[in-house]
C-alpha cells in the first residue's frame, strides 16, 4: 500500500542502503507531499534511522537515488534540517544551551563567518518556541532528557528550513512535553513545512501524524494515516522480519565484497 504523489517534496527512488555489507533497507520507493507531518514507524532495527540518514546523505546509498524539492540534496541543504538522536552526542561537552541552538544558524552562515546579533536573536526566538527561554545560559549537561530534546528541536527551528527530519525526538520525553512538541510540529506543518519524524509509539502516532511510512527492512506502506495504519499493515510491519529476506542478508554478509554495490 504505497501512495505516490504528484510534485513530491521528497522522492525516494529504489533506495537500497547497507552498512558495510549488511543491507538494512531494501528498494524503498516512495514520494511525499508538502506540508504534512509524517511519521516513520517500524520495529527496532527496521531501518528507520537509516532511512533519514540516507535522505540526509550521511550514509551513501548502495543503489537508488533521492531528490528533495525536485533537486539533488547538495543544492537544497540549507532548506533541510536534521535532528540526530539525542544519544548521538556527548552532553558533557562544555557548552551552554544557547551555544548549541546557535549551531542551527551555522548552515546559512557557511564556513568562516561567525554568528552575530541576528543569529543570536533567531536562536533566542527558537528557544522561546520550545518553551526553554529560562535555560539560555544553562550548561547542557545539567538538562533533563526532555530538555535536551527540546534544545535539539530549537536548534532545528533556528535552521529555518522547509523540510525537517527528526530521529526519535520523543525518546525519553514525558507525556506533557511530547504533546507540546507534537503541537508545535503540527503548527509547522500547517504553515507549509514538511516534518518527518522517526517514532516508535503507534498509539501517539495514530493521534498526531497525517502521513505514515511503515518500514521493516523494506517499505511496507506509505500513505495518508487513515489508509495505511490498518490492522493488516501494522501486523506486516511489526510481525517479525521476513524469513527469506534475513536469509538473503546472511548470504550477502558472507561474501568477501558487497555484491549490491554498482
Amino acid at each position: 500500500m504505497i501512495t505516490q504523489v504528484e510534485e513530491p517534496i521528497l522522492e525516494i527512488h529504489d533506495l537500497t542502503v547497507s552498512y558495510d555489507q549488511n543491507p538494512v533497507l531494501w528498494n524503498v520507493d516512495l514520494s511525499l507531499p508538502k506540508g504534512k507531518l509524517v511519521g516513520i514507524l517500524g520495529p527496532n532495527g527496521a531501518g528507520k534511522s537509516t532511512l533519514i540518514k540516507a535522505i540526509m546523505g550521511l550514509i551513501p546509498p548502495t543503489s537508488g537515488y533521492i531528490r528533495i524539492f525536485d533537486k539533488p540534496l547538495n543544492e537544497v541543504r540549507t532548506r533541510i534540517s536534521y535532528v540526530p538522536q539525542r544519544e548521538s552526542v556527548d552532553w558533557n561537552f562544555p557548552a551552554s544551551v544557547l551555544d548549541v541552538v546557535m549551531m542551527g544558524t551555522y548552515g546559512k552562515l557557511g564556513l568562516f563567518r561567525r554568528p552575530g546579533k541576528k543569529e543570536k536573536e533567531l536562536a533566542l526566538h527558537s528557544l522561546e518556541q520550545v518553551g526553554m527561554s529560562g535555560f539560555v545560559k544553562r550548561q547542557i549537561s545539567e538538562l533533563s532528557g526532555g530538555q535536551q530534546q527540546r534544545v535539539f528541536i530549537a536548534r532545528a527551528l533556528a535552521q529555518q528550513a522547509d523540510l525537517y527530519l527528526m530521529d526519535e525526538p520523543f525518546a525519553g520525553v514525558d507525556m506533557a512535553t511530547e504533546t507540546a512538541i507534537f503541537q508545535l510540529l503540527k503548527e509547522m506543518a500547517d504553515t507549509g513545512k514538511t516534518v518527518i519524524v522517526v517514532h516508535h509509539d503507534i498509539h501517539s502516532a495514530m493521534n498526531f501524524f497525517d502521513w505514515a511510512i511503515m518500514l521493516n527492512l523494506h517499505l511496507v506502506a506509505s500513505g495518508p494515516k487513515d489508509l495505511v495504519m490498518t490492522e493488516e499493515l501494522l501486523r506486516k510491519t511489526y510481525g517479525g522480519k521476513l524469513n527469506l529476506l534475513t536469509k538473503v542478508t546472511d548470504l550477502i554478509k558472507r561474501k568477501e565484497f558487497n555484491p549490491l554495490k554498482s
Binding site: 540526509m56 550521511l58 541543504r77 540549507t78 533541510i80 562544555p94 557548552a95 551555522y106 561567525r114
Partner: protein
C-alpha cells in the same frame, strides 16, 4: 634566589626569547590538546608524539646536522604517516582503536630509537644535540629555532581561533555538521594537521616522550574548573604556560636537567590541585558536601524521633534515650542536638529535650515528605506498603518544596499514609 630574579626579570634577552617561545608553544599545544581531549582522542596525541622520532632522525641524516627545518619537516611527515595509518587501520580492519594506537606508538618509537642509537655510533659530533629531543631542553634552543617553533605555534593558535565554530561542531556533533553541508572530513583533516604541528613544535623544548602531557593535561585539569569552552581554553593555556615557564626555569638553574619531565611535574601538580580543590567537581568539595549532607540527614532524623514521641503523647525525651536511638553515633547525635538548639528547633530542659514551635513545624515537614512519598510509591507505583519505608527515608531529605506541592496535588492532599498514619500539616 638570585637565579630566580635574574631569570624572571628577563635581563638576559635569550631568556626572554625562550620564555616567549615556551609561552606560544604552551598556548598552542593546550589549545589543540583541549579539543582532542574533548573529542576523546587523547591517546592519538601520545601516539603522534612518539611517532615523530624516526622523522627527526631522518631529518638529521638528510641534513647532516641539527637543521631545524629538516628536523621539523621530518617530524611532521613521520607524525603524518602515523596519523594516517591509525585512521586507515581503523577503517579497514576490525582492530580496536586502543590496539591500533598502542601498536603505532611502539612501532614508530622503536624504529626511532634504533635510528638514534645507530646515529650515535656513527661518530658525528653534532649528534649530542639530538638526544635532547627525547626529553627536551628548552634552554638550549637557538633564536633561529625559536622563530620557527614560535611561528608554527602562532599559526596553530590563529587557525584554531579563526575556525572555533567549525572545530566546536566537529567535536560536539559531527553528524549535524555533515547534515548542513560542512566539509567535516576536511575539518577533521585540518585538525589532525594542527595536532601533528602541535607535537612537532614541542619536540625540542619538551621532547617526544612527554609532549603528549602538554597536550592533554592542561585541558583535563582545566575541565575541573569550568563548564564553558572559552574559559576552558584560556585556563588550559594558562596552566600550560605556567608549567612550561617553570620547567624552563629549572633547566636554567640546573643545566643538566631536561625540561620535559619538569614541565610534566608542574603540570601534574596543577592537575592534582584541580582534582582536589576545584569547586563542585573537586574531591575535597565533594567530601565536604557529603559530610554536610549527612549532618543534615542526622539532624532531620532527630527531629523526626522527637516528633514521633510527640505523636505518642510524650512532649519531651530524655537525652540518654535519644543517644540510645543511635547507639554507635553519639558524637553525631551530640552535634546534631547542638545544631538544632542553635536553630531554635529544640529546647533543652535539664536532661530533657523538647521541640520548639518552629521545631514542630520543621519536623512536620520532614515527616510529611516521608509519608507523602510512601503514599506516592504505594498508589502510583504499586509498591506494597511494607516496601516503601527505605526509599522514603532517603527522599525525605531531598524533596524540594516544588516537588512537595506537586505530590500534594497529585495525591489530592491525603490525610493518611499507607500505614494509616496521619500526614501532618501546619494549621493555617
Amino acid at each position: 634566589m638570585e637565579d630566580f630574579v635574574y631569570f624572571f626579570t628577563f635581563q638576559d634577552p635569550s631568556i626572554l626569547w625562550v620564555v616567549l617561545g615556551i609561552t606560544l608553544l604552551g598556548i598552542g599545544s593546550a589549545y589543540v590538546g583541549t579539543f582532542s581531549f574533548l573529542d576523546k582522542k587523547a591517546l592519538l596525541g601520545d601516539a603522534i608524539s612518539h611517532a615523530v622520532l624516526p622523522g627527526i632522525c631522518l631529518g638529521f641524516i638528510l641534513a647532516g646536522e641539527k637543521n631545524p627545518v629538516y628536523i621539523v619537516t621530518g617530524a611532521f611527515v613521520s607524525g603524518g604517516i602515523a596519523t594516517f595509518l591509525s585512521t586507515w587501520l581503523k577503517r579497514n580492519t576490525k582492530l580496536s582503536e586502543d590496539a591500533i594506537i598502542a601498536t603505532i606508538l611502539s612501532v614508530f618509537f622503536g624504529i626511532g630509537i634504533v635510528m638514534l642509537t645507530a646515529l650515535q655510533k656513527s661518530g658525528n659530533p653534532e649528534i649530542a644535540g639530538l638526544n635532547t629531543f627525547i626529553f627536551g631542553n628548552a634552554i638550549g634552543i637557538s633564536e633561529k629555532d625559536l622563530m620557527l617553533y614560535g611561528g608554527l605555534a602562532l599559526f596553530i593558535i590563529l587557525v584554531l581561533t579563526f575556525f572555533l565554530k567549525e572545530f566546536r561542531l566537529m567535536v560536539f556533533d559531527r553528524e549535524f555538521g555533515d547534515s548542513i553541508g560542512f566539509p567535516m572530513k576536511s575539518i577533521s583533516f585540518s585538525f589532525n594537521v594542527l595536532m601533528i604541528l602541535a607535537v612537532v613544535i614541542g619536540i625540542q623544548a619538551i621532547g617526544v616522550v612527554l609532549m603528549a602531557a602538554l597536550l592533554i593535561t592542561p585541558g583535563s585539569a582545566a575541565r575541573f574548573w569550568t563548564d564553558r569552552l572559552g574559559t576552558l581554553l584560556i585556563l588550559a593555556a594558562l596552566f600550560s604556560v605556567i608549567s612550561g615557564v617553570m620547567g624552563t626555569y629549572i633547566s636554567f638553574v640546573l643545566p643538566q636537567m631536561p625540561t620535559g619531565p619538569w614541565v610534566v611535574v608542574f603540570l601534574s601538580l596543577i592537575a592534582l590541585i584541580s582534582f582536589l580543590f576545584s569547586p563542585k567537581s573537586g574531591m575535597l568539595f565533594r567530601f565536604f558536601a557529603r559530610k554536610k549532607y549527612l549532618r543534615k540527614t542526622h539532624r532531620e532524623h532527630l527531629l523526626k524521633a522527637l516528633y514521633k514521641a510527640l505523636e505518642e503523647g510524650r512532649k519531651s525525651l530524655p537525652i540518654e534515650e535519644i543517644y540510645e536511638l543511635y547507639p554507635y553515633h553519639k558524637p553525631q547525635t551530640q552535634s546534631g542536638i547542638k545544631d538544632l538548639k542553635q536553630n531554635n528547633y529544640i529546647n533543652q530542659n535539664q536532661e530533657f529535650i523538647e521541640l520548639s514551635q518552629s521545631g514542630i513545624s520543621e519536623a512536620m515537614r520532614i515527616v510529611r515528605l516521608h509519608r507523602l512519598w510512601e503514599l506516592y510509591l504505594n498508589e502510583s507505583m504499586n509498591i506494597a506498603p511494607d516496601h516503601v519505608h527505605d526509599s522514603a527515608e532517603q527522599l525525605e531529605h531531598l524533596l524540594t518544596p516544588e516537588l512537595e506541592a506537586l505530590l500534594e496535588k497529585r495525591l489530592n492532599y491525603p490525610a493518611l499514609d499507607p500505614h494509616q498514619e496521619t500526614i501532618p500539616r501546619d494549621r493555617p
